[in-house]
Amino acid sequence: MGNIIIKNGYVFDPINNINGEVMDIFIKDGKVVEEYDEKDAKVINARGKTVMPGGVDSHSHVAGAKVNRGRIMRPEDHYQWVRAKTDIAHSGTGYTVPSVYLQGYEYATMGYTTVFEAAMPPLEARHTHEEMKATPIVDMGAYLVFGNNWFIMRYLREGDVEKAAAYVSWMLRAHKAYGIKCVNPAGVESWGWAKNVHSLDEPNIHFEITPREIIRGLAEVNELLGLPISLHLHANNLGHPGCWEITRESLKIPSDLEAQTKIEGEQDFEKREQTIYLAHAQFNAFGGTSWRDFESGAKGIVDYVNSADHVVIDNGAVPFGPATVMTGDGPAIFDLYKLVGGKWSNSDIELECGAGVLTFTYLKSNPVHSVQWAIGLELILMIKDMWKCILTTDHPNGGPFVKYPSLIAWLMSEKARNDTLETCHKWASEKSEIATIDRELDLYDVAIITRANPAKTIGIAYRKGHLGVGADGDVTIYDIDPTTLDSNNYTEIEKKFRIAEYTIKEGEVVAHNGEITSAPTGRIFYTESKVNEDIERDVLADVREWFKYYTLGFENYPVDERYLRRPTPIKVNMEG
């Protein structure tokens, strides 16, 4: 942790309403502080440059069993994308599924300092933490997968939200997880018997619970516990033509709930307003009824998001090129495999969830892929309020996170989009509205969708995503002069966002013009919530009883702090 003063830069800090003002940022002992004497600090002159809070990725698959399966399945993804060892940094390889070291360095190179793993199966929590422990530089956390969990389905089927909440509370603590992830609710359980569910009111096999009941129940649990992040939903029917409709209906389910964030010791900060955070919306915004009449369904999602105040989405965009598709939604991956072939893997996580992995390449010559590219961009450009959206590729599903700069260029430059429309399949312009959109994001918008809003949405804006006094000293300096920025010169935009001039983590320069200059250890954030002790005791009795269905012993189930680096519990709802 260091002392750094960043002088004279154009600062973009949307949480504090700072839009390109020339300001100095003072960091002392790793935190942003009031002005102090510069003889005690390293001084960086950022005159003529763009200064933003460190990037925050709220949805990325970077740790755990399925990510590692992707690495194992794809030696071809590794042998040409390498980073050599230096005195400071390890060597690393991998493009869409980089090794743990490399992904830390690549995020830092790009100006990101916080990354949240999007889906941690409880049984794979130890593995996930081991990988996060080995990922350098960035602060991390992981969302725990609940949408097809036997205990949750049982309690919610019985209408017992309190017990469900007590179970979630214990699970987050036991597995050192941050929030609730819900993947294809009810459907993944049926996938264990080669089935799926296709509507919000279709009950699944054995538990006979519907997606609607699970989404509603988990959203209620979320607000009962007052978790930092809202329910994080991977909606049903993902990846199927026409899925935009079930997605919109899913978003409506928690519209009457009130967002409750009860973090101990943190009162006055930019709290989340949403009660549902839709993951990788692009994959759930397909229109048409088949692949023959496939079209963008973005408008249906966007119209609803524009009219509602309880929804945030991340776009899960497709930048073209290689990807590795991986999700807890096993049936969706299987359907895709039947469609395109490639290397496929599937697994069941006993009592909890499952996962599928598939190698994939998005081609400009492919009509469907071209529309997917358009949908990803529509889902930000057509949303009026940037505080309702977040930029992701659902790494590595739409493409690797190192392609974020290309997406920023497309969002900031109509010319970039038009030039791509000329080289990709005509369906992109014919089956979406992308060709008619002339909106160009500015640097303030980009700062919202890449740092301020992800931090706000996951409920960590008391320390991340802004540069006010008390925030973590995570800062990115891009070699971009806002006064001469030309959106037509989009290759320059892409280049500058790809390699930050400086990435600063807790007051230490971690990356400078693409080189790793230090590799400190990041924090792991997880949630510790409290519920009524009697209810928790009853729930634990249920858990012990049903543990006979697991292939491991109860005592080996929780993950203790030794598996975490710089464990940072966030205490919520402590009145119980």
Binding site: M73, R74, P75, E76, D77, Y79, K85, S91, K343
Partner: protein
């Protein structure tokens, strides 16, 4: 040198312990450089960077362009990898054995190995010619592990035997093995031509979906996913002619329902088929 061919001679001086990765040994890299500049070129041994001159004596003269440059290696370089990596023109002659990955991703020019070659010769090559006068190990003309589409053009000719996985994932170009091959010859082949003049072990054309394989010798265990189509007398493919009666098969039906892979097998040498 006014368009005449210039020659650089590399004489191995030993020190090959951990294999040396010498992508720099290519007419494209040597062209237009002085001998001293060539001596200073970087090669890797493990994670350590070294100068080319730590492993080779360098003499002769490089041409202005790759096409005008010939590199002659006087001796065995079994433990030197990646000679001719990505070369687009010119010529490399190895008067001895070559190491792994000779001619990886080459797009033009010519490589001649007077001795044996290591594994992965011509991996993912796009054009040009590789001739090995001796034997070769595994993965000749085969794509990288985990990849399903590799060599797309050019020609590899092995005058001796080759090991397993010859031509894995090729989509174009041709590979001719004068001797015998091991298992999985033409695995995942998706185009191009693979010719085996001698015998093959097993799984010839496994997971093949397009392209042509010709086996003039005996196949020890025939691949189950192939169906008999026809009997033909004499073959003419890519300007090569094959005499005698051949059984024509289509496959691999284990890979897809309408495969376009063609497998021709000598009738005389495979009486059990």
């Amino acid at each position: 040198m006014c368009g005449m061919e210039s020659k650089v001679v590399l004489t191995p001086i030993g020190n090959f312990d951990i294999p040396v990765e010498a992508e720099a040994i290519s007419p494209d890299v040597f062209a237009g450089k002085s001998l001293n500049e060539i001596r200073e070129l970087t090669v890797l041994q493990g994670p350590q960077k070294h100068k080319l001159s730590e492993f080779f004596e360098v003499s002769g003269e490089a041409g202005e362009t790759s096409v005008e440059t010939t590199i002659v290696i006087e001796g065995d370089v079994d433990r030197v990898k990646l000679i001719g990596y990505k070369m687009s023109g010119g010529k490399i002659v190895i008067n001895g054995n070559a190491g792994m990955h000779v001619g990886d991703e080459m797009s033009g020019g010519e490589i001649l190995v007077r001795g044996d070659a290591g594994s992965w010769t011509g991996m993912d090559m796009k054009g040009g010619t590789i001739v090995i006068e001796g034997n070769a190990k595994d993965h000749i003309g085969c794509t990288y592990r985990g990849k399903w589409r590799g060599m797309s053009g050019g020609m590899i000719h092995i005058k001796g035997d080759a090991g397993n996985n010859v031509g894995g994932g090729i989509t174009g170009g041709s590979i001719v093995i004068d001797g015998n091959v091991g298992a999985f010859c033409g695995i995942k082949q998706n185009g191009g031509l693979t010719v085996v003049r001698g015998d093959a072990k097993r799984a010839v054309g496994a997971e093949m979906s397009a392209g042509t394989i010709v086996v003039e010798g005996h196949i020890e265990w025939f691949t189950p996913g192939f169906e008999f189509v026809d009997e033909v007398d004499g073959l003419e493919i890519n300007g090569m002619s094959f005499e005698g009666a051949f059984l024509k098969f289509r496959g691999d039906y284990a890979e897809k329902s309408n495969p376009k892979g063609e497998l021709y097998v000598s009738k005389e040498k495979n009486p059990e088929l």
